[in-house]
């Protein structure tokens, strides 16, 4: 293989990408060496099994991916506002919308939410860590290396260009030769291992490791939504794994599962993809609902309205999510009866979702609302998401969908549900729980600027797209006629406003890191209701020295009434902790090597990598590290320091 076949050549933008990758890597290596932080990096982060640190790494990776996906989006918007400028050619445009979609869903939305779950769920249920801390580290690193593999594609080998849905037969080896689609298949496969393992891990954690007295119906709503999400992950992700594996075998070993020739069924890919894909969108929306419920209850200073109805609605949404997938391809031509069935199930989803919307509104009704930054994100979510939901019902009508299908109306719809739903929730959750993660709050004034810029930019960007869609503008096209110029231009301005909002948010993080006051209380906002706020800030690595008996889903409110804390000196016992280990990192790095080899169809190297993975598994099987214990004296010292207690 020639070097110019290995690296992508001929595109100035991609050369710029290569240069920036080299510069950023060189800077990181220089800084780590200059400040002698290599050992720190390895001992504190790369080998960690602490759920709080893994969560932080998830969130940092997700923010980096949000940046990458956002740059992709801005490139597309620039091209569509000025199609005559030839900013992107058609091939490059195809690659950019493919990576934008894939990165935003798989490598931004999910890791961001999983990161928040990682940090918050064990704290909300009074657990010291995940049920399987080692597995949690494996999950993170397989996600991370999967994301890196996918992101490499645009400089090495060529990016995938068949859309984030990767439909056959276009994605088959006849119509898309080369490594591009392989990057998609193996990047998703590798990070899918992590997601599935996290699903199992979190489910076991929630089912088996709750604080004494915390029955299922006394769990905070975010934990409930996480539990239901893990069910969806465990049942939906195997379908993706199988579909990806079948297409990988198609492409690399020449089988005919999804090909046009040899009895293949190309539409079966769409069928399997959406059997996973629809539950997937609920994987990213249900935890978001949970975050909004927590934030709204806290800053409305009220118990969440209709706790049981909320839980019921989540369960019903999760159930329905498995029986609506055909609405993504009504136009396949399966016939009126099939489409009618899925049309009805699709519209039924609006019922439990409506229940949740009204519950949030009822929580806000006659409450004393505190307009903090996380609350602003949550309040903006309700009307914005409702617009997305209503247009979703419009799309759900199979007959009408023949008009909307593959137009910007659809593009606008799913951005209206995914951005106010998931992205707003990520920001709300990150700002809300930021003090628990980093020991200081984010600056409220700058945070609100970021919010308003992002919100206005969002509506400016996507509202015109509904009308572009109704006007007939198809998605995934790289040139538009002059009659669509005005709306496209407004949309592009909105997109850049969102980009500005993101920059202001990053500025807010840096500013707060330098200037925000430290030494804050455990309940940093003063409005906390659940157990995570009962821990001191910063959180000790064992989370809870002792746990009180939980009596309701607002555990902290009860504790405050009774004057309890998570440091009851009479109940102290040595705490068993897992040891840090480098195995997850090494194992995932070998998986990355094997997947990379398979992308280029270097079978020998891939087999060597596979053997390496098995060797790592054997090493793990005979690893009898039992962890260590934190003694009572050390706990007392830590807690006293964290709680600012001096008296004996």
């Amino acid at each position: 293989m020639q070097l110019d076949e290995f690296f992508v050549t001929g595109e100035p933008l991609i050369y710029a990408g290569m240069v920036s990758i080299v510069l950023v890597s060189a800077t990181v290596i220089f800084l780590l060496t200059y400040f002698k932080r290599w050992k720190w990096l390895w001992q504190e982060w790369l080998t960690t099994v602490d759920h709080k640190k893994i969560g932080i790494m998830y969130i940092l990776s997700a923010l980096a991916m949000l940046f990458r996906g956002g740059v992709d989006a801005l490139m597309m918007r620039t091209q569509l506002a000025f199609p005559d400028m030839n900013f992107l050619n058609s091939q490059h445009y195809n690659e950019v919308f493919t990576t934008h979609g894939t990165i935003m869903i798989i490598f931004m939305a999910m890791p961001f939410l999983i990161g928040l779950m990682n940090i918050i769920v064990p704290l909300q249920i009074g657990a010291r860590d995940f049920a399987f801390p080692f597995l949690n580290a494996v999950s993170f690193w397989s996600f991370f290396f999967g994301a890196m593999l996918f992101n490499l594609s645009f400089v090495i080998g060529g990016a995938p260009d068949a859309g984030w849905t990767n439909y056959a037969p276009l994605a088959g080896s006849e119509l898309s030769p080369g490594p591009g689609i392989n990057f998609y298949l193996l990047g998703l496969q590798l990070s899918g291992i992590g997601t599935l393992a996290t699903g199992i891990n979190l489910m076991v954690t929630i089912l088996r490791m709750r604080a004494p007295g915390m029955t299922l119906m006394k769990m905070p709503i975010f934990t409930w939504s996480t539990l239901i999400t893990t069910f969806i992950i465990i049942f939906a992700f195997p379908i993706l794994t199988v579909a990806l594996a079948l297409m990988t075998i198609d492409r690399i070993f020449g089988s005919h599962f999804f090909t046009l020739t040899g009895e293949g069924l190309p539409m079966m890919w769409a069928n399997l993809f959406w059997m996973w894909g629809h539950p997937e969108v609920y994987i990213v929306i249900l935890p978001a609902f949970g975050i909004f419920s927590e934030v709204i209850a806290s800053f409305a200073q009220k118990q969440i309205f209709g706790y049981k109805a909320m839980v019921g609605a989540i369960v019903i949404i999760a159930g329905l999510s498995f029986v609506v997938w055909v609405h993504h391809f009504f136009t396949m031509g399966a016939g009126a009866f099939v489409n009618s069935v899925f049309s009805i199930t699709t519209m039924m989803i609006a019922i439990p979702t409506g229940v949740k919307i009204f519950n949030w509104l009822a929580t806000l009704y006659k409450s004393k609302i505190v307009f903090s930054a996380p609350m602003l994100w949550s309040l903006a979510f309700i009307p914005s998401f409702t617009i997305g939901g209503v247009t979703g019902v419009m799309l759900g009508m199979a007959a009408a969908d023949y008009q909307y299908h593959n137009t910007y109306f659809l593009v606008s719809h799913f951005h209206y549900v995914l951005i106010p739903g998931t992205v707003f929730a990520c920001f709300a959750g990150l700002i809300f729980w930021y003090p628990k993660m980093f020991g200081h709050k984010l600056n409220e004034r700058i945070g609100k600027w970021a919010f308003w810029l992002f919100l206005i930019g969002f509506h400016l960007c996507f509202f015109p797209q509904y009308f572009l869609g109704l006007d007939g503008m198809a998605r995934r096209i790289f040139t538009v006629g002059p009659e669509w110029f005005t709306l496209n231009f407004i949309s592009t301005m909105g997109a850049f406003l969102m980009g500005l909002g993101f920059i202001v948010f990053v500025h807010c993080v840096i500013y707060s890191f330098r200037f925000s006051p430290r030494n804050i209380e455990g309940d940093s906002w003063g409005y906390g209701r659940t157990l995570e706020w009962a821990t001191p800030t910063p959180i000790p690595k064992y989370n809870f020295a002792t746990l009180p008996e939980i009596e309701s889903h607002d555990a902290l409110i009860d504790m405050k009434e009774k004057g309890q804390t998570t440091f009851d000196r009479d109940k102290l016992e040595p705490i068993h902790m897992p040891s840090y280990t480098g195995q997850p990192f090494i194992m995932a790095a070998i998986m990355f090597f094997a997947s990379f080899a398979l992308v280029f169809e270097w079978i020998t190297l891939a087999v060597i990598g596979l053997v390496g993975i098995i060797v790592m598994m054997i090493i793990r099987s005979f690893d009898y590290d039992e962890g260590y214990h934190i003694e009572v004296d050390e706990i007392i010292e830590t807690e006293k320091k964290a709680r600012g207690m001096t008296d004996e």
Binding site: F231, A334, V338
Partner: protein, 126 residues
């Protein structure tokens, strides 16, 4: 954790070996055996049922009693999802198999599924 170490996991090793053997037999049946297509399908299905049984008995704690009882709840949901996947795919994807499309206006994209059915018959002659 300490208690489990002295017990050699013989069940797991037998299960592991059996599931690999069954997979190889299934692959051989599909790729290299000269059986008619219908028998290949039946054989693979039978092997799959045995495989599932091995998983349930050797790995999935179906025989356990007491505090860590068998996860009936999860198994029930798994069966429901499996039924949705299989029955749902048949329901939505078999539109090309019937030639009755309400007045004969055939969509082009049903061709793939049709030729699938037709070439079935060809294969049985092998």
């Amino acid at each position: 954790m300490e208690k489990k170490q002295d017990k050699y996991p013989i069940n797991h090793i037998i299960g592991f070996a059996l599931s690999i053997t069954l997979t190889i037999i299934a692959a051989w049946t599909a790729l290299s055996s000269d059986l008619p297509v219908m028998w290949i399908i039946i054989a693979i299905m039978a092997l799959a049922v045995i495989q599932a049984g091995i998983q349930l008995f050797m790995f999935m704690h179906i025989t356990e009693r007491g505090a860590t009882h068998a996860p009936w709840n999860m198994m029930f949901h798994a069966f429901v999802i499996a039924a949705i996947v299989v029955a749902g795919s048949l329901f939505t994807m078999s539109f090309g198999f019937t030639h009755d499309h309400g007045g004969g206006d055939h969509e082009d994209n049903s061709g793939g599924a049709e030729s699938h059915e037709e070439s079935h018959d060809d294969h049985e002659g092998h």
